[in-house]
């Protein structure tokens, strides 16, 4: 690479929030035309760093040089004027405005300074969408009607509607299907070919290997490594840098003997129109059954239907041979089912409440006489459950929102543990959980199974299903295409099944 000054050079950036030092002297160099990847566990400071770069946070100390000159990014607008655009993980689009209006929000093409030229906005938006490989998105449609992937494209079009030199993408592939990811990478390639720099944040190492040029690893608010070659740095080294430990995914041992006994959970011919075809499955006590499949294969829908959160069109769910009332979460919970949903914060946790109250919420009546809660008993039980799962901090009085992703997941598991739940439904149990905490979570799930729990697991990460489950059902477009013990499958084979649906040999 030619020895020109970097496009962006951040040095010694610190940023503190009350009680937390989020960034502690971070350096970051980005060259024009490169894909620079940011890696780090949750809480390592990635989000804060990109917010500083976007002008949304002001650093306490440190300098930012842009094309060789010192700059201050006072506001998101200031950053945008320089040519820095950010695509956040949680898309900041206005659902009730059209695609074109969103793309041009804040810098609408106008006549006489205030009359919005709608046609001009739509045609330039159409141009951008075509460039992004999605000419089928109608600029006049409301953003709320688009799919998640299409919304991301709109977000990207908005970034490109400015004269952009650096794009920050925060986990852009998280909500995308494989072919969408391919399209994303093509766009990234086009951009860098034009000399635009991309700061790319992802948890997925394989993506970084595919498109990244260099990698900066953040840990505890510091850059522990800067500018590593993305393609050639060994995984082991990257993981070691991120965790400070030299570990990869470690899956717990499976018990020697296959689980026996009558199935505790039986699903017979369960289906929902347009979501998944009639499904049969059984889970025995002590058994972990995994559902593998892509986004849109109906995995979450299956779990939620079993749980009663959705009403099935056909079929039934039995626990210990007794059918559950369809479409009733309460019936499912009473029968001993528990769900750890995919969207933990939105679907499981009471974010304003303490760990105790999050854990006890499903078993309140156990601590109550005539509605009167015995808070001593509740706290004691919550504490015991928290200990059992080695949730940290082990004080159940802390607000649940202060916990890390992995510990929040443990709080959800503790809830069902306390309830005396017998069938645990896990939907993407390690989403948003950092690498180090995953192994621990896997161990917890296996231990619960060993203690007699039946577990039904859904994950988009094939290695996770293969590593944790005893038996795997492979889903493709709402139908089970293959069932086998986990040890008879490998990742390659599962992906083949998922993509092709062929019972490949």
């Amino acid at each position: 690479m030619a020895p020109q000054p970097p496009l962006l050079s951040m040095s010694g950036i610190t940023k503190s929030f009350p009680g937390v030092r989020a960034l502690d002297g971070v350096d970051l160099d980005v060259q024009a035309g490169e894909v620079h990847c940011l890696l780090g566990q949750n809480g390592a400071g990635k989000s804060t760093l990109i917010k500083v770069l976007a002008g949304a946070h002001q650093p306490d100390t440190g300098t930012i040089r842009w094309r060789g000159e010192d700059v201050t990014l006072r506001s998101p607008i200031a950053a945008m004027r320089l040519g820095i655009a950010t695509i956040y993980q949680e898309l900041d689009l206005v659902e009730h405005l059209s695609v074109a209006e969103n793309v041009h929000l804040g810098h609408e093409p106008t006549a006489a300074g205030f009359v919005v030229r709608g046609r001009a906005a739509r045609s330039s938006t159409a141009e951008l969408l075509k460039r992004l490989g999605h000419p089928e998105v109608d600029p006049a449609r409301l953003v709320g009607e688009l799919s998640a992937a299409q919304q991301q494209i709109v977000s990207m079009a908005r970034a490109l509607s400015h004269d952009v030199r650096l794009i920050v993408m925060d986990e852009p592939s998280a909500a995308l299907d494989p072919d969408e990811v391919d399209n994303l990478f093509r766009i990234v390639g086009d951009l860098t070919a034009d000399g635009v720099a991309v700061v790319y944040i992802s948890h997925r190492l394989e993506e970084i290997r595919r498109i990244g040029d260099r990698v900066t690893v953040l840990k505890d608010g510091r850059a522990v490594a800067g500018g590593l070659p993305a393609k050639s740095t060994p995984t082991r080294e990257v993981v070691a840098l991120m965790t400070g430990r030299n570990v990869e995914y470690v899956f717990p041992e499976r018990p020697a003997a296959a689980p026996r006994g009558e199935p505790v959970l039986t699903v017979e011919g369960l289906s929902r129109e347009g979501e998944f075809a009639p499904l049969d499955l059984q889970v025995r006590p002590g058994e972990i059954v995994g559902l593998a499949g892509l986004v849109g294969s109906g995995r979450s829908e299956i779990l939620e239907t079993i749980y009663g959160a959705r009403k099935p069109d056909t079929g039934r769910v039995l626990v210990d041979g007794r059918p559950l009332r369809p479409g009733s979460v309460r019936a499912a919970v009473r029968a001993g089912l528990g769900l750890a949903p995919e969207e933990r914060k939105a679907q499981a946790l009471l974010m304003l409440e303490s760990v105790t109250r999050n854990v006890s919420v499903s078993s309140m009546s156990r601590f109550a006489k005539a509605g009167w809660i015995d808070r001593g008993a509740e706290l004691g039980a919550a504490r015991a459950a928290v200990r059992e799962l080695s949730l940290r901090p082990d004080n159940p009085d802390v607000p649940v929102r202060t916990l890390s992703g992995g510990n929040q997941q443990k709080a959800v598991l503790a809830r069902w543990l306390l309830r005396g739940c017998r069938v645990l439904l896990l939907d993407e149990p390690t989403r948003g959980v950092d690498v180090g905490a995953r192994a621990e979570l896997y161990a917890v799930v296996r231990r619960l199974a060993d203690e007699g729990l039946a577990v039904l697991l859904v994950s988009s990460e094939v290695p996770e299903v293969l590593g944790l489950a005893d038996r795997v059902l492979v889903l493709r477009e709402g139908s089970v295409v293959h069932t086998a013990p986990a040890r008879e499958l490998d990742e390659h084979r599962v992906l083949d099944l998922v993509m092709e649906g062929s019972p490949a040999s």
Binding site: P18, G261, E262, V264, P285, Y307, A309, D320, V329, R330, A332, V333, R334, L339, P341, A346, Q347, A348, L349, L350, M351, L352, E353, S354, R357, V361, S362, M364, S365, A368, G371, W372, I373, R375, G376, A377, L379, G380, A381, R383, A384, A385, E388, P393, D394, N395, D397, V398, P399, R415, L417, L418, R419, G420, C421, R422, L448, E451, G452, L453
Partner: protein, 339 residues
């Protein structure tokens, strides 16, 4: 087969681990900051009242007066606090108070005497709450719309019953309750009812499964549903509770004003929401306290009292009320962001 996983029957307190105490104190401290700031505001008001009108303000009769005036809206606010904590809103409280007070004071009702008036007021309140609750919980209506509709129809029905006329109460037992002879150890019966409702409300919110479920529904309705809480039934109960509080408040108002009128409870919805908000209840639900709401009511009533004693007119009173709401919310935002 049944293997409840490690039921922690041993609820004996364990040795507190390190790092536990500061967190525990932080929680307590935060709760205290809110309450203390409200108490501070009240103290300042009392100081102002005491300085400007020492004879009239710092007087047992005035204390009785302020608490009495706070009682009616106070009872309504307790119910409203529950509804807001659960993520809802009840815009119909004023109208329900009007309808209850009017229905309970018709000539026909008054024939049944004290019990007839009390029973009718409470029953009408519960009935309106039931309609609100069913519409919202099982009809899937947005609380704002459902209770707005109830506001309109309850006011309309109240008007239809009275034809715009004031219905004077002639039942002595009811009238006597509002007079000095029936004060218990110097405490007006209305204030006793208000205190009782406050205590019951506090216990309900902080010590019962009902309170927990209300908070859970308000904090995250979807999470509450997936945790096995019957969210719809809980919502129904909450609007019933608000209706019940309105019925009780209507009875207090009948005692206080010696009459029923369709204009009763004018803008109670705004006063109750404002009191709950300055008391620290999140309008988005999931957090709130009864103590805060009651302090909010007392602050508003005390302001009105001080202004009236100083012969300041209602325009100034309204401006001050608005300023207090803004100031209280700003202070809370600050304390919330620093802790």
């Amino acid at each position: 087969m049944t293997q409840p996983v490690s039921p922690p029957r041993d609820s004996a307190p364990k040795v507190p681990s390190a790092g536990e105490k500061p967190a525990w104190r932080a929680v307590l401290f935060r709760a205290d900051v809110r309450t203390l700031s409200l108490l501070g505001v009240l103290a300042v008001l009392i100081l102002i009242g005491g300085i400007t009108k020492p004879d009239q303000f710092l007087d047992t009769r005035n204390l009785q007066l302020v608490l009495t005036q706070a009682s009616v809206i106070g009872v309504v606010t307790v119910g409203m606090t529950f509804v807001i904590i659960s993520g809802g809103i009840d815009l119909s409280v004023g109208a329900i108070v009007a309808l209850s007070s009017v229905w309970a004071t018709t000539v026909a009702t008054q024939e049944f005497g004290f019990a007839g008036i009390l029973f009718t007021a409470v029953l009408v309140g519960l009935g309106c709450g039931l309609v609100n609750g069913v519409l919202i919980a099982y009809g899937g209506m947005v609380p704002f719309i459902a209770t707005l509709a109830m506001l309109a129809s309850a006011r309309g029905l109240a008007l239809q019953i009275t034809d715009g006329r004031t219905q004077i109460v002639t039942v002595d037992g009811v009238l006597d309750l509002g007079e000095r002879d029936s004060y218990v150890l110097g405490i007006p019966p209305l204030v006793l009812v208000f205190a009782a409702v406050t205590v019951v409300g506090w216990l309900l919110l902080n010590r019962t499964t009902f309170g927990r479920r209300s908070v859970a529904v308000g904090g995250n309705a979807e999470a509450a549903r997936l945790a096995g809480i019957d969210v719809r039934r809980q919502r129904l109960y909450l609007y019933l509770l608000s209706g019940l509080c309105c019925g009780i408040a209507a009875f207090l108002l009948i005692v206080l004003a010696g009459s029923g009128q369709n204009t009763n409870g004018n803008l109670y919805e705004l006063d109750a929401i404002a009191a709950a908000i300055i008391g620290g209840t999140l309008l988005t639900g999931g957090r709130g306290t009864i103590v805060g709401s009651v302090l909010g009511v007392l602050i508003f009533t005390t302001i009105t009292n001080i202004f009236a004693l100083n012969n300041l007119q209602s325009d100034v009173q309204q401006i001050a009320k608005g300023a207090i709401i803004v100031a209280a919310v700003l202070v809370q935002r600050r304390t919330a962001s620093t802790t």
